[in-house]
């Protein structure tokens, strides 16, 4: 199957998953899905570890794992249900692809730093990848992690920011102006790249670019990407889709 088809199939499955289970958070899932799919299908090798710090994009993670053959349709049926392993935010420990429970923001980057440091101490192969939200940079612990990563030169770590510009109750620029993130983070000693988080060729170049320092890829993304009535709208952080909205979303993604 062509990669483009893999992406489309995954997006449609994500919409179905959230519609069937009547749950929200679809906006941030659609902004992060392209990057996670790209990681799982094009980047991750044996011994690499991926950690989703923005745990509210659990649906996109589960769909990515489904797309990579790590989860089945039966597994997905359990999403958000009683007696399930697929909670609304990832619960770690039951499969190697989900190393930690995330959902409370500001933990993932430190955890990834610890894994990267442990790998270095044990001379283990493999890189560590971590995907954060942009709102997550308001957490002080994320900056603590950044200082630690830079100081200890954890060059086996790549972290990504899903910079969709929207957070829980407004635009990131209206709540806590941290932009330009690249300009602020680079002086710590981090290699920073800034690309579209929905463009495969830009992601390909960014992941392949040589680096001797810890690497940050800022993914400029759109919340609700690919669905016109969701794009850039905060309410899709929370709302489930109506039947009419679901039909419209499927139509738009199918025709893209």
């Amino acid at each position: 199957m062509q990669y483009k088809e893999i992406v489309k199939k995954a997006k449609l499955r994500l919409l179905r998953l959230h519609y069937e289970k009547k749950i929200g958070h679809i906006g941030g899932n659609l902004s992060a899905l392209d990057a996670m799919l790209f990681l799982y299908h094009r980047v991750l090798k044996e011994n690499d570890i991926f950690l989703l710090s923005k745990g509210h994009s659990a649906g996109a993670l589960y769909i990515t794992l489904w797309s990579a053959g790590k989860l089945s349709d039966t597994d997905l049926e359990g999403f958000h249900q009683d007696g399930s392993i697929l909670a609304g935010h990832p619960v770690g420990g039951w499969m190697p692809e989900i190393p930690f429970s995330t959902g409370s923001l500001g933990h993932g980057l430190s955890l990834a730093a610890g894994i990267a440091m442990g790998k270095k101490m044990k001379n283990e192969q493999g890189r560590v990848f971590c995907l954060l939200s942009d709102g997550e940079w308001e957490e002080g612990s994320t900056w603590e992690a950044l200082i630690f990563i830079a100081h200890n030169r954890l060059d086996n770590l790549t972290f990504l920011i899903d910079a969709n510009g929207l957070q829980g109750f407004g635009n990131t620029t209206d709540i806590a102006s941290l932009e330009p993130l690249a300009k602020k983070i680079r002086p710590f000693g981090i290699d920073v790249l800034e690309i579209s988080g929905h463009n495969s060729s830009e992601m390909d170049s960014a992941f392949k670019s040589a680096s001797e320092a810890p690497k940050l890829i800022i993914l400029r993304t759109v919340k609700g990407h690919g669905v016109s009535f969701m794009e850039g709208r905060m309410e899709w952080h929370y709302l489930p889709m109506s039947e009419e909205q679901y039909i419209q979303a499927v139509k738009e993604v199918s025709q893209a």
Partner: protein, 301 residues
Amino acid sequence: MRNSLCDSLVKLHKTHDFVFLTGDLGFMALEKLRDAMGGRFINAGVAEQNMISVAAGISYTGLQTWAYSIAPFIYARPFEQIRNDVCMHNLDVKLIGNGGGYGYGAMGATHHALEDYGILLTLQNMHVFIPAFAEDVPIIISRMAGLHRPAYLRLGKCEKPKGFELPEYDGWRKLVQGNNVVILTVGPGAGPVMGAILGIMPETRPELWVLTELPLNDTLPTDFLESIERCKHLIVVEEHVLQGSVGQMIAHRLLTAGIKLDRFDHAYAKGYPSGYYGSQAFHRRECGLDATTILRCITRG
């Protein structure tokens, strides 16, 4: 006890692979360990939240990790990191908090740890060790290293009376044989009480126990139960607030088991009742945790 801690960890490092993180503390205490461990010793800086999550991440790769700071900075500041990153995943991370209770005395309230083991024991998989004497530290370090799950070490000051021969280490130890009253102390609080009761005549001397490991088992030790059923008067002494205290845990176990006592007294940390600050001894007096007040409790009718 910090010297004993350092020596024990240096010794452990010779036979056991682990990582040690400090939150920028350990001056005049951990230099030997730093020099012995080389790259396995990391000063994680003044960033305790990051330090605990990093410890969890390192532990995830299979390396046991110890993290050290002044007690409140290791359990209170990074509480969510302990909860979500360490305990939820039952990871092999050890937390060392120096200065349990009022240990940091006149340094002020921010440096006191009055609710540490109570709050930590609300978390899944957590174990707590509270050495009573410097001699306990090497044994406890060895036990902690062999326990591949989360654990907290509450370090205090050794106040063992000179010349006293300690019985063999156990989580529950009878330190002084006695009659009429059983005093159960938690960790280093045993020292001052022991110093006060050793001068009492054997026939009226209270029996003294010390508890150094938590959580409690569902059933209390048989020897301890025999003692309290014989004496019918139990006094629990601990430098910890009432909520989450050993006193509450013991009362729960006794009620559950249907064991009735004539009298139950509980001396615990009451914060700062006068609003003044001072040494550990000052705060103990303020809270009735000093030996004089405890002995008065024995004679009170």
